[in-house]
């Protein structure tokens, strides 16, 4: 199993794609953080107080952007599997390890580590932005809160990347999996949450927010289990369907 993980590691880090995904993740976090830092200041001066940075706890809202690149984490996992179907390397992968679920497990381990890296980058980026751009006056900056948000993001991204691997195995056509993944995170999930408030807390996005400390949602521990449950369920379905398929 360790050998499989190392093989997946080489596969990942031999491609520029991974660094590109990390860059996209950083850009997304920057785009979501900047409005708070640039517009909130103006709003506060004009008494609109959308986000009054002088209030204790106001910065907590900014720190939540550290965990806002879930779609990138998901895609990291999706690309790990669908990259192989796209380039035909799946033949070689399954020749080397015919027990296909073990391949999926090895990919999940590496994707989770990539998710953690993404969280480290996101945390660093947001901290730097706050350091450079936070307008005066503002409440004292609690850097510890940023670290806490970063740890939560690491957990969320790792779980989303694992979820992405399972989803990629289930939808092995790369373009389809990527488009569906993006649509789900940015659109479908929000619509579903609006239509079905009862199940809303159990949707992956809500579970991710719960791990990030949002109130009125699941307890963080339960939220972790929900995300693990999705990953395992999708992997199990893939294992019984698409993963059993003939490789031609």
């Amino acid at each position: 199993m360790m050998g499989l993980v190392r093989a997946e590691w080489v596969k990942t880090f031999s491609l520029k794609l991974w660094w590109l995904m990390l860059l996209f993740g950083a850009l997304l976090v920057i785009l979501l953080t900047l409005p708070f830092l640039l517009i909130s200041g103006v709003a506060a001066e004009e008494g609109m107080a959308e986000l009054d940075l002088t209030q204790p706890g106001a910065l907590t809202t900014i720190w939540t952007t550290i965990g806002s690149a879930t779609v990138i984490a998901l895609l990291i996992g999706v690309l790990s599997f669908t990259g192989e179907t796209r380039h035909g390397t799946l033949t070689d992968t399954f020749l080397t390890e015919p027990r296909r679920l073990r391949v999926l497990a090895a990919k999940a381990v590496v994707a989770a580590i990539q998710g953690v890296f993404l969280a480290v980058v996101a945390t660093g980026v947001v901290m730097l932005l706050v350091l450079w751009l936070l307008p005066e006056p503002h409440a004292p900056v609690q850097w510890g809160d940023a670290v806490t948000a970063g740890l939560a993001a690491a957990l969320v991204y790792a779980l989303y990347a694992v979820l992405g691997v399972s989803f990629g195995a289930l939808v092995p056509v790369q373009v389809a999996a990527v488009v569906l993944g993006i649509l789900w995170v940015l659109l479908v999930e929000n619509i579903l949450a609006g239509l079905l408030p009862a199940v809303a807390p159990y949707l992956p996005g809500s579970a991710a927010a719960a791990i990030g400390g949002s109130p009125d949602l699941l307890a963080p521990g339960v939220a972790v289990l929900v995300l693990v449950g999705y990953a395992v369920a999708l992997a199990a379905i893939a294992g019984a369907t698409t993963l059993r398929r003939d490789i031609s």
Binding site: V10, T89, D246, I247
Partner: protein
């Protein structure tokens, strides 16, 4: 070198509701020899090979390597190396990275990677990306991946495809060397002229079914025509039929097919027949192949 036979027993593979791609196919591949797996395009060669290495699930029957299904082999790449498609490389990874991935995933010593690149003549191209390799180089890289764990059996699907004459000559010498070391080598091809010079045994299939299997000499030999002349060969007609051959011509001038010249001569001697002439007209593998497969095509 441990000897590892390859066996296909009653293999059937059906996709959807179409006619089976492979039907009740059985053959055995012996160690230490190069076996050509021949058939026209679409005969079911690739499907059979993919069933052998666990990439496809047989509808019924079994395909065994060293007596086991591929998926049941512990560390299967150390038992059998397979080259199935040359395009199976990520164009952005280097030749060496592809071998490194196989080494890690297959539990193979990483120290084998560089010597293997030398062995297939790719040491100068090891840091080149797979997308920049020529077809011949990709073939060599695929061979390097398959041979990395020093497996006693080798399965190659159309390895001569797209190779230039020099590449084909190289491949022939390469495969002969591997078979001489006692390895089991199964090579599929539709390029018959090429195979004639390379293989020891042949397995010919058409439309998913076995047409002929055996040593190349026997298969070509029985397909050749043996012309026999003598004063009265009436007794030979029945003897040939009893031995599984067929005859055409008159009682003084017979053309025998389906038997080797040795077999025909022996039959004549057994029946105390006076023979004035016995001449074998050798068939080429192409002739055999076309005869055998067109027979089947004429069948309803």
């Amino acid at each position: 070198m441990t000897s590892v036979p390859i066996e296909v027993n009653g293999l059937t593979k059906q996709f959807g509701h179409q006619d089976p791609a492979v039907a009740e196919l059985s053959f055995r591949v012996a160690p230490g020899r190069i076996t050509g797996f021949l058939g026209p395009n679409g005969a079911g060669k690739t499907t059979t090979l993919r069933c052998l290495v666990g990439l496809m699930r047989p509808t019924s029957g079994e395909a065994l390597i060293a007596g086991r299904r591929y998926a049941d082999l512990p560390r299967p790449t150390t038992v059998v190396g397979a080259v199935l498609d040359v395009e199976g490389f990520n164009p952005a990874r280097t030749a060496r990275e592809h071998l490194l991935i196989r080494a890690y995933a297959g539990g193979i010593d990483r120290a084998q990677v560089d010597p293997m690149l030398d062995f297939v003549g790719l040491s100068d191209a090891k840091d080149r990306k797979a997308g920049q390799l020529s077809l011949g180089m990709s073939q060599r890289l695929a061979l390097a991946v398959a041979l990395l764990a020093d497996p006693p059996a080798l399965i190659l699907d159309e390895p001569a495809n797209g190779l230039d004459p020099a590449g084909i000559a190289w491949l022939r010498t390469f495969l002969r060397g591997l078979a001489d070391e006692g390895r089991t080598v199964l090579v599929s091809s539709h390029q018959l002229a090429e195979m004639r010079q390379t293989v020891d045994d042949v397995v010919i299939i058409d439309r998913g079914r076995l047409v002929r299997a055996g040593p190349l000499g026997d298969v070509v030999g029985t397909a050749s025509v043996v012309h026999v002349t003598g004063p009265d060969l009436t007794a030979l007609v029945g003897a040939v039929a009893a031995a599984g051959g067929s005859t055409q011509g008159s009682a003084t001038d017979l053309a025998v097919t389906g038997l080797t010249p040795e077999q025909v001569g022996h039959l004549a001697w057994q029946h105390h027949l006076e023979i004035h002439g016995l001449r074998a007209q050798a068939a080429e593998l192409e002739d055999v192949f076309l005869t055998l497969t067109s027979d089947r095509r004429a069948d309803p």
